[in-house]
Symmetry: C2
Amino acid sequence: MTATPHQRSTILEVAREAGASKTSVSRYFGDERERLSPGMQTRIATAAQRLGYRPNQMARSLKGGHSRLVGMLVADIRNPFTVAVMHGVEQACQAHGYSLMVCNTDNDAARESALLALLASYRVEGLIINAAGSPDQQLQTLVDQGTPLVLLDRELGRTEASVVGLDNALAIDMALDHLQAQGYRRLLYLSEPPEQASPRHVRLARFQHGCEARGLTGHAHDQSLEDTEALSQAIRHFLTEGDSGQKAVLCANGNVTLAATRILLASGARLGETGLLGIDELDWCELVAPGISTLAQPTDAIGRSAVACLMRSQDNDATPTRHRHAPTLIMRGSTRNTRP
Amino acid sequence: MTATPHQRSTILEVAREAGASKTSVSRYFGDERERLSPGMQTRIATAAQRLGYRPNQMARSLKGGHSRLVGMLVADIRNPFTVAVMHGVEQACQAHGYSLMVCNTDNDAARESALLALLASYRVEGLIINAAGSPDQQLQTLVDQGTPLVLLDRELGRTEASVVGLDNALAIDMALDHLQAQGYRRLLYLSEPPEQASPRHVRLARFQHGCEARGLTGHAHDQSLEDTEALSQAIRHFLTEGDSGQKAVLCANGNVTLAATRILLASGARLGETGLLGIDELDWCELVAPGISTLAQPTDAIGRSAVACLMRSQDNDATPTRHRHAPTLIMRGSTRNTRP
DNA sequence: TTGTAGGCGTTATCAT
DNA sequence: ATGATAACGCCTACAA
C-alpha cells in the first residue's frame, strides 16, 4: 500500500494475484469464460475485483482490430433533429455492444475533414455521417479501407455508401396534399440554401414540381437564415399579395420553422388563416397558438436504421442501400383553415 | 495493386516506402518533426501521403498512455441545456487537442454505471459527468487511478471533484428580485423531484428561504413531470386562489417551463398578468406570446470551464474547485406585469 | 482446462 | 540526425 494513487492494474497483475496465467484472465474477460473451471473463475473474479481491474480497450483493439467504436459526425449538434437521431443511434449502438464517438463540425468543411481523420485514427468500425461539406475523397478512402459508412440525411454524389433519412419526396407530397386539402392555394416554400445539402435540393425541386402538378401557385425562398431581412421581406411580400385564407407557408426544416414563425408573428399574421406547416417536429410547436402543424421525422427509427446498416455492411460487404423513412403529419391549428 | 481493399498502412510500411526507420516516421508524426532533416521530412510526407497513412491512436495510446480522449457522461442528451454545454465542451476539447466521447445515460443509474466502466476502459484522460444516480464509489475509484473529474451541474456528496455549473442561489435570488420588482407577491415554484439532482435541491431551498426573507408567499410543487395531472392541478389551484396580477410561476428548468407553459395556456391564463419566469433559455421562449422571461445559463462558458478544470487538474493535482456561473435575465412579456 | 509465445502499431530508450 | 530494440496490454494460435 503506497502513498501514490493506485496504478491501473493490468491483466498480468490479475493473473499473478489469481495464481493463473494471462491467458486465463483474458479468457475470463473475453467470450470464453465458460471454458474456465469454476474455481479458476472465482479466483480471477476475486483478484480482478480486488485490483479494480478493467481490460484496456485500447490494447484490446490494437490486437484484435476491434475498437468497438462507432463514429458519428454531425453538421450541427445543436439541431434538435440531429440530437434526436443521435439518441436513436446511441441506443442502437449500445444494444450491439458498440460505443459511440460523436463529433460536431458546426457545418465547417475544414473541421469536418480534420474530424474524419481523427475518427479514422481511432479505427472506428463504422461511421455515420451527416455531411457538412463534400468530403467524398476522404470517405471513399475510408470505405476502401473497409470502414462501413452510412450517410445520414445528406447524400454525397460520388461516395458509394448507404443512405438513411427522410423520404423527402413523400414528405413534400404529404405537405402539399394536406395544404391543398385545407384549401390553401398559394404556397410559399422557405428553405435554407439548397446547394449545401442534398435533401434541401430534393425538397425544393419536389415542391416546385408538385405545385405545378396540383395547379397550386408556388413560390420559393432559399436564402440563408442569417439574412433575416431577406427572409422577412419575402414573407411580408407574400402576405400582402392575393387573398388571405388562400396562403400557406411551408418550412423546409425546424430552423426555418423557427425563423418563419418569428417573422409571421411579428407581422401580425393569424396562423391558420395564413397556413403554416413545418418539416421537423419541435416541442414548442404545440405551444404557439393555435399550434403549428408539422411533419414529424421518425428520428429514433432513422438512428436505429443507420446503425442497422452499419452492422449489415460489416458482415457481408453488401451493396449500399437506401432507407427513406416516412414522416408523420401532426395537424394543429396553423393549417386548420378558417376561411377555406 | 491487389483486388482486395487497401489494408490500413502502418508506420513500418511508411518507413520502408520512405527509406527511413520507424523511429523517424514516429518522430515526424509526433512532436519532434523539427529534429528531422528537410530531406527526410519530405520523403516521409510523400510516402505517408501515397499510402494514406494515419497513426493508429489505439497503439499510440497503448504505448504512451495518452488516449487524447475526454469522456462526457450526460443524464439527458435530449435536453437542450445539456447539448449547449456539450457544444462548449467539445470546442474546448478540440482547442486542447482532445477528442470527446459522449455517452448518454437517459437518467438511468444502471446505464450510468456501465458507461462509466466503458469510458474507463477507453482510458479517457478526463471525465465530465452530469450524474444521473450517485456513482460515488466508481467515481472515487477513477479519481484514485488519476483520472481528472469534473461534476457538471449536479454535485455528488462524497466525491472529491471539481464542480461546474450555475450559481443556483444567485439564480433564485435574481428570479425573486425580478418577480418582486414586477409586483408579484404570490409565487409558485415548479421543480422536478429534488432528491435526484443537487441543483434542484439548492434551488428549492433557496426559493423557500428567499420568499420568507422578502415577505413573499411561496408555494412549491416538486412532483415528477410525468405526472401531468398533479402538475396541472397544482397550477390550476394556484390560479384560482388570490388576486391575479399578484401571482407568478417560477420554473426550475427548461423541461418544467415547457410543461408549465402548456398547462398555463390550456388553462387560459394570460401571461404577464400571471407571471412566468423560467430558468434555462430556450429558443421558443420569445415565440409564445407575449414572450417568456428566462434566466439564461451561460452554457458555452460552463462547457469551457469544465474542460479548463480538467486540464488544470492534469498538470498539478490541484484541489477540487467550484465554478458557479451567473445567469442572465432575459425579460419578456411574461413578467411584464400589467396590473402591478 | 490451462499455459506459452508471439505479435498488433506505436513510442521511448539507448545507441550510432 | 537517424536507427535498432524493447516495451505498452492484450489476444490468439498452438501446446500440454
